[in-house]
């Protein structure tokens, strides 16, 4: 009889702890994801920026030596990530593969030009820099034309700025929500013990002595929640890394470790402070005020 009652009590307690742990865990998990996004935001945006191709079209009269030299000098310059020579035959092949029809058959000749595809390093993918690069290439007599998608570059740069700004705003918002949510679950669990706290004071326990077990219990719940969040983050990191290995998510080991430790510490600090404040609140109340 009493054992079933005890079991019921214990289950009730566990479920109330469960909700605290879960809210801490979820909030920290979301924060951690945002953190990972922030850490890798530059990498992701760089990844997209470096997809931008600047194509230098060469005149048919260009000599092999000149092409080689241009390619080499481009490769040596500090703004170029990689270059690739595309002969007009290769270009025709790839257009044929894309369109599924052979335009050379009805044209009778290949209208395409030899070209060099230049992938510019992410930091240099701005309108101004690309302008300078293309002008420089145009000074060569054997260069016919330089083409790149100027609109795309502008769009990308604007979006990257916007997205990073919003990520920061959302992270800030989430931190506030995290603190509020954790704070309110802890406040409720301390509130439910307010008469116990008062009784403890009545028998001569100091505030510090009363507070200690409350803080320790919440911090333990915070740690469990944080560990759950870390496991979630690790799983997400693993799968994203599997899906997009080119992003090299795992490369920033130091920052990732800092982030993981930070999330764990945040779990402890938030629960610590909110339990401290919540218990302090009830410790400072006089008995009569407890009933309001």
């Amino acid at each position: 009889m009493s054992s079933s009652f005890d079991k019921y009590q214990k289950r009730r307690l566990i479920s109330s702890y469960f909700s605290v742990v879960l809210s801490i865990g979820l909030v920290l998990f979301l924060l951690g994801l945002l953190g990972m996004l922030v850490i890798n935001a530059k990498k992701v945006s760089d990844h997209f920026k470096e997809q931008v191709v600047l194509t230098i079209y060469l005149k048919d009269s260009a000599k092999d030596v000149e092409i080689k030299q241009l390619e080499k000098s481009l490769a040596l310059s500090d703004y170029v990530k990689s270059t690739e020579f595309v002969s007009k035959e290769q270009a025709a092949e790839s257009i044929k593969a894309e369109n599924g029809e052979d335009f050379m058959e009805f044209l009778g000749y290949n209208p395409l030009q030899n070209s060099i595809d230049v992938h510019v390093k992410a930091d240099f993918v701005t309108e101004e820099r690309l302008q300078v690069i293309s002008e420089e290439a145009l000074t060569k007599s054997f260069v016919d034309e330089v083409r790149y998608d100027n609109d795309l570059v502008t769009l990308m740069n604007n979006n990257v700025k916007k997205i990073s700004f919003w990520i920061l705003v959302i992270s800030g918002l989430f931190t506030v929500i995290a603190v509020l949510l954790i704070n309110s679950s802890i406040r409720l669990s301390v509130y439910s013990k307010r008469f116990t706290i008062k009784t403890m004071q009545m028998v001569g326990a100091t505030k510090q002595f009363i507070r200690r077990p409350f803080v320790w219990k919440s911090v333990r719940l915070g740690m469990i929640g944080a560990i759950l969040a870390l496991i979630g983050m690790a799983v997400v990191l693993y799968y994203v890394n599997q899906t997009f290995p080119e992003l090299n998510l795992m490369n920033n080991t130091v920052l990732l470790v800092v982030l993981f430790v930070g999330v764990f510490m945040l779990g402890i600090i938030i629960t610590w402070i909110s339990t401290f404040i919540a218990t302090q609140r009830f410790l400072n109340l006089k008995t009569d005020q407890l009933y309001y």
């Binding site: 013990k193 008469f195 116990t196 009784t199 009545m202 028998v203 001569g204 100091t206 008995t287």
Partner: protein, 226 residues
């Protein structure tokens, strides 16, 4: 005679309203003092002032060597360790057993040795006749039993003064007498007790020095002996 409580020209306020004024009270070591009065006459406020839950803002007062006028927030726990407080509604910690209730008090008041603590708990439970019920939770005990445990708790640190705020208020007459017997025994062993009550039957049965709260005043009444 050693004084454990003394108030001179003290006034007690509940919020802004004056509850009792010009109180002059003395309690000596070994006394058993009743505090009687109708509900709302300020018995509880008087008791609360004594254990530091209400500040004394007017007049002089001293209890177990603490000056009530200059009592600091951080001193209150140490004042309460020299007092034993018994409440009408028992105020046991409902989330733990009787033994753990008592153990909490001992730990909170600086006891360290485990063996000494166990011995002390047995001693006080024995005094109130609850030796065999230490493993029970408060909700598994009757009102009278809970109040005995509360008295045992008050005894733990050999208090210089026990404040009992209507200890029989929630109990039936029969149980009241049982709890009263416990308090009387404790008093005979040398403990000083100040007990607020409105149970006149008990007063008649166990006559002793009596203070009365009425009309914002506290004065001593002399019981007529039949």
């Amino acid at each position: 005679m050693q004084q454990v409580l003394y108030l001179k020209d003290a006034s007690i306020f509940q919020g802004d309203s004056l509850v009792l004024s010009d109180i002059n009270v003395e309690v000596n070591k070994g006394d058993f003092v009743y505090l009687i009065g109708k509900t709302g006459t300020g018995k509880s406020s008087f008791m609360k002032t004594l254990y530091g839950d209400l500040p004394l803002t007017k007049g002089e007062g001293s209890i177990v060597d603490f000056d009530l006028r200059t009592l600091k927030e951080k001193d209150i726990p140490f004042l309460r360790r020299k007092l034993g407080v018994v409440f009408q509604d028992f105020k046991l910690l409902t989330d733990r057993t009787v033994n753990e209730n008592l153990l909490f008090v001992l730990k909170a008041t600086g006891w360290k040795d485990k063996k000494e603590m166990t011995t002390r708990i047995e001693e006080v439970l024995n005094k109130v006749g609850m030796k065999t019920k230490g493993f029970k939770f408060p909700h598994e005990l009757s009102g009278g039993e809970q109040q005995r445990v509360a008295i045992a708790r008050a005894l733990l640190n050999n208090p210089e003064l026990i404040l009992a705020d209507e200890p029989t208020g929630n109990l039936d007459p029969q149980t009241s007498v049982e709890v009263m017997e416990v308090l009387q025994d404790i008093n005979k062993n040398g403990n000083t007790i100040l007990m607020a009550t409105h149970d006149y039957a008990l007063l008649l049965k166990y006559p002793s020095k009596t203070l009365k709260c009425d009309d914002n005043q506290v004065y001593e009444v002399v019981q007529k002996k039949n």
